[in-house]
């Protein structure tokens, strides 16, 4: 029989892992976006 506490711990680890991956992807996308915005502003002479 499964230990419910063990199951909860597994679920928590799984949730934390998936949230960390999503957060990392979002931060990576944000860095790329800021880079793009900076290039556009520099080209337009706004920075």
């Amino acid at each position: 029989m499964n230990d419910p506490r063990r199951d909860d711990e597994d679920l928590i680890r799984k949730r934390q892992r998936s949230r960390s991956i999503v957060m990392a992807l979002l931060l990576g996308a944000f860095v790329i976006l800021m880079f793009g915005i900076s290039i556009v502003k520099i080209k337009a002479g706004m920075l």
């Binding site: 928590i12 949730r15 998936s18 949230r19 976006l33 915005i37 556009v40 337009a44």
Partner: protein, 300 residues
């Protein structure tokens, strides 16, 4: 009440945070914002344009999250909203509040720093309007809640236009007025066939407070100024003939469906087909109108 007020031991799934942003509502917001931007006379750099639309989407998502945070008790009472992350107990309220506020601040700061201050100011106004004026103040107090609250959903084309040009002129104001006046017939058509749900939750929607007949008349009454605002950009010379022709045909069909709803009364066991048809078409109508505006601008 099934709402959880203390942090759960199990953290919420990222999909639940996504659900807080009301992705389906966001589709229309993003579309009208994008069209407002594309219909503007001044072109915007694609990267800045993408950033502006992203900010509009994030701002709308933040407003949706704060709405769900505040209305968790109400959502728990309605069949349509019972499965949302807060009433279903998959997330604690504090996480929803932090997520909503964080997203709102981030979207406004990014809009202000990357695009311009006017667009950021209108985005701020739209978030505050939806959360404070509509959600907190009006929704539970007056049957006219969605009339004033509808303004929150009318801001995106204004923001898109401001992002592209740095100013607001008559046409974006007319687009604002179109969405503002479209909201009452759109929502009241929905409220007519989900009346029981709203009544059980104690929300003073017009059919609950004033009755079915008044609601039907109000749908008809709001459709008249909406139709005028929808068609008027062409005779004023603000758009070309493509928008003019599409707006006349699409608006005439909207008025026909609205008139059918306005002039009938539901019998026992009624399937509410005309109301469902008006609600369904009202969503398509905005897509048609804004799509025509962009096509008209780009063809011209």
């Amino acid at each position: 009440m099934t709402t959880v007020d203390h942090p759960l031991a199990i953290p919420a799934d990222w999909r639940d945070f996504l659900a807080l942003t009301k992705p389906r509502v966001m589709t229309l917001v993003v579309f009208t914002g994008l069209c407002g931007m594309l219909a503007a006379p001044q072109a915007i750099d694609p990267i800045l344009g993408f950033t502006a639309v992203l900010c509009i989407a994030l701002g709308a998502g933040a407003a949706g999250a704060l709405n769900m945070w505040y209305e968790a008790d109400l959502d728990a009472q309605m069949k349509r909203t019972r499965g949302r992350p807060l009433p279903a107990g998959r997330m604690d309220r504090q996480s929803a509040l932090h997520f909503g506020v964080g997203l709102a601040v981030f979207s406004v700061l990014l809009m202000g720093l990357a695009i311009n201050l006017i667009a950021a100011a209108i985005l701020t106004a739209s978030i505050l309007f939806y959360v404070i004026i509509y959600t907190v103040w009006l929704k539970r107090r007056t049957p006219q809640n969605i009339v004033i609250g509808g303004a929150a959903g009318a801001f995106p084309p204004l923001i898109g236009w401001a992002a592209a040009t740095g100013q607001v002129t008559l046409l974006p104001f007319l687009l604002f007025a179109l969405v503002f006046l479209w909201t009452p017939p759109h929502f009241w058509a929905l409220a007519l066939f989900v009346k029981t749900d709203y009544a059980n939750a104690g929300v003073p929607m017009l059919p609950v407070v004033a009755g079915e007949r008044t609601t039907r008349h109000q749908i008809g009454l709001y459709t008249i100024p909406m139709a005028a605002v929808a068609v008027v950009p062409w005779p004023l010379g603000l758009t070309g003939p493509i928008y003019g022709a599409v707006s006349i045909v699409a608006t005439a069909f909207f008025a026909l469906l609205a008139a059918r709803v306005a002039l009938r009364m539901a019998a026992d066991g009624d399937t509410m087909a005309p109301e469902k048809r008006l609600f369904g078409y009202s969503v398509a109508y905005l897509f048609i109108m804004f799509g025509a505006l962009v096509v008209d601008r780009w063809v011209a």
